[in-house]
Point group: C2
Chain length 483, copies 2
């Protein structure tokens, strides 16, 4: 029987109609040649409805505490699991563009999961143009973290277009089979560039390993020392300027997504002697600077991003707990693109260096202390007055090859994260085959024009390419992908 | 500036993820001959998106109280009204049967409205078979009651197939125009049978007229006297047996709907010397008896229904406050159909007689006292242990003619109400032209087979027809309508 960690419980306590705490994403596919859409989706639907021996968290619900007004501390098997409820078939109104897809996903991402059941929903979405279809999934953050979410996604797909799934992707059998495959996959991956280290930032930083037994008071004391080792280090809550997206949230979300060529972004980092992560942070910083200049007022103080950071050694793909958060200075108040890039790079380097000096145990404490104030402030209901960060920017490693789901080619994996009062913008990207798939979640009220960020991200990448002395023949990214 | 009554506030306080407090419904249409679906729906969409001078509650949001942890007491204009958020375009997956429609509506009806905006959503739904399309609307119960909801629906439609809407149905102009029309409409209606009185039960019984100034303690004392005038009167909470649908609810709803011929139901009442309302209560009682016998255990104690009851004089169509609730003995433990009918009839008669003896002021108190315990029990979180009623069965008068929306003929008006812990089933019907349109809302977990009620309602009607000595050539109802 699974237990909830104290962090899991905080995700439950911190949830409201205005701040649903689920994470998920949109995956985009092209039907195999000659396949009939209705038949193909109905076959997938049948597979997904199988309720035999599901892996965690798909068959487990929260077990109510026997003490009144105590939060749940365990998961239990759902005795009346109803796959019809969890697996849904949706459709887009015509003309079935990405615009209609994002409108639907924005709505689906805005509603709370039902706490009396396993905390997930999965949508098969038909009605897209050009023989494409999509899925949208959401799972409660108390049940899953970003790394685990990516494992689950990967376990559904195969690099072999002729491979056909025999079991539900939610089944224990499927997940065990995937675990066996992981070692081989990783061996392959090691031969390729970039290294796992370069794309190893992952979202959802508070590790389950902390467990419920951690004495928070003691941890704060121990961590404070580590925290103060480097006075230049950016800390949460310090110098986070007010922007339209650092307010109290309404209950409505806006989701937008777009893919960029992995090679384009990687080339910038290589030319500027930075990492892929430095470059996506700089892209985001450039885009946010332009957004604020155009649609609001650019703060004189620079924006600070929370960048979840993987600390796992190069060979380790099984542990999911080696994760910490770095506060990055986005230098949005700096007009010069090079100076902005260097400031971001330096800020990341400082954060990483601090973490490297710490023992694993200290890192666990450090991670918690970085998160604890945000959660405390959240529980007090004043997080919109005291934002911990301007935004979260997260980079999740995904598959390095073209992947297929029952023969349908995977065109994009766009993450959709949770946002919170005070930090109402999340930019998460997944490296998927030859692209970087960006998924952006914002509050509809504080960032009604969030779709502009897509254009501004491209503008920022072009600016970086010019800075790096790269002159691509075609500047616009994979324009066949969502805008 | 609109104020919230204490009842409105209770609907807000009593709301949770498991018990959303909105009401709404599905309206079904056939496209005008020769009309192009995309063009037609896009024209409607344009009309609906107009945000100029909206009538209450479409442009008003809750104004937060200045005192912390106090509920809102006023509505205010939403300064950043976003019609794009409220008016939604949805689609059904193929093959676009009523089954897919009800699955979508069940999901839409299960999610909470966003409290930071005007408390309504409106969906245009495409993708139905046979040139049909649908709308699904939801409005918070704190903002609207059933009678008002029906007025709003009626204000959208015209009995003239050539009439075209010039203003948004949510606009002040549209609603004013409708108010002018009402008197004429009523004059027509008076010439027809049945009388308004016979179909005058309406849902949502707690009137806004009570206001927030009512001293609840005093009212309880004053009402108790009236309450005890007739010892035989059925009272809430007394002898409500345990059934699968009288439990704590999960956050998922199941919605089903079906139309019956108005004449068929009316003929039974006429032959048995009962009202239309007696007959729909008997239909529901017969159906519930069969459901419990087949899928659960039939309680030896009879089920009790809450029947909202209009008290308005025959000529009055403008006041919306003359509404009270009667507790009806459904006699589900009685095998004999005639005895069951007579018990229901007698129970309704007693309830009505009591109300007729009371002054208007006493009726207001009586209504509140009938509701107050349910709401109190709800706030204490024990309503599933102490259900006030087995179910709510409500009969809402709708249009007497074939209506059209911009030339599209209205085929059905299926209400979708709110349910609560302990009373997890609502059967509401609207008289619409020549049919009675039933909409049933249940909790997915406690009544997963609620769609069987549709068949059982037909069986119960056939039983009543046999009892009444009516032998129709074709016994099945309007089978072209939803099942």
């Amino acid at each position: 029987m699974h237990k909830l960690s104290s962090t899991d419980t905080l995700f439950l306590l911190n949830e409201s109609r205005e701040t649903p705490m689920h994470v998920g994403g949109v995956h985009l596919f092209t039907l195999p040649e000659g396949a009939d859409e209705i038949e193909f989706l109905s076959d997938l639907g049948e597979l997904l409805h199988d309720d035999a021996a599901l892996s965690f968290p798909f068959g487990q619900r929260l077990r109510e505490s026997r003490l009144p007004s105590c939060p749940p501390i365990r998961w239990e098997e759902d005795p009346k699991l109803d796959m019809e409820y969890h697996v849904r078939h949706s459709a887009l109104p015509r003309p079935g563009r990405y615009r209609e897809l994002f409108a639907l996903v924005s709505r689906l991402h805005s509603t709370l999961l039902d706490r009396s059941r396993p905390l997930w929903e999965f949508n098969l979405i038909e009605g897209l143009q050009n023989r494409q279809f999509a899925t949208y999934s959401k799972v409660h953050h108390a049940a899953i973290d970003g790394a685990m979410g990516m494992h689950l996604a990967n376990s559904m797909y195969s690099s072999d277009p002729d491979s056909r799934a025999e079991h539900s992707p939610f089944s224990v059998r499927s997940f065990k089979r995937y675990q066996h495959k992981l070692a081989e996959l990783h061996a392959d991956a090691n031969d390729e560039t970039p290294t796992a280290d370069e794309i190893s930032s992952v979202n959802y930083m508070v590790s389950e390993a902390l467990g419920s037994a951690v004495n928070v008071g003691k941890a704060i004391g121990q961590s404070l020392e580590a925290y103060l080792k480097d006075g230049k280090l950016r800390m949460p809550f310090s110098e986070v300027p007010h922007t339209p997206f650092n307010q109290r949230l309404s209950g409505a979300r806006r989701f937008v997504a777009q893919s960029w060529s992995f090679d384009r972004v990687y080339a910038v980092g290589k030319a500027l002697d930075g990492t892929l992560n430095d470059t996506v942070l700089a892209m985001s910083a450039g885009a946010l600077r332009k957004y604020l200049k155009t649609h609001a007022e650019l703060p004189t103080v620079s924006l600070k991003a929370m960048a979840p950071m993987s600390l796992r050694p190069a060979g380790d793909v099984t542990s999911s707990n080696a994760v910490a958060a770095i506060t990055v200075d986005l230098a949005t108040n700096v007009a010069d693109a090079e100076l902005r890039y260097r400031t971001i790079q330096e800020s990341m380097r400082e954060g990483r260096q601090l973490l490297q000096q710490l023992t694993r145990r200290e890192i666990d404490f450090y991670t918690m202390i970085m998160q604890a104030p945000a959660i405390m402030v959240g529980l007090m209901g004043v997080e919109h007055k005291l934002p911990a960060y301007s935004t979260v920017i997260s980079n999740v490693p995904g598959p390095r090859k073209q992947m297929y789901w029952n023969g349908a080619s995977l065109n994009g994996m766009y993450p959709a994260s949770a946002i919170n009062h005070g930090t109402g913008l999340n930019i998460t990207m997944v490296s998927n085959n030859k692209s970087l798939d960006f998924g952006i979640v914002a509050c509809l009220d504080s960032m009604p024009l969030v779709q502009r960020l897509i254009d501004y991200l491209e503008d920022a990448l072009v600016e970086l390419e010019e800075l790096a002395g790269i002159r691509p023949q075609q500047r616009r990214g994979r324009s066949e992908q969502p805008a």
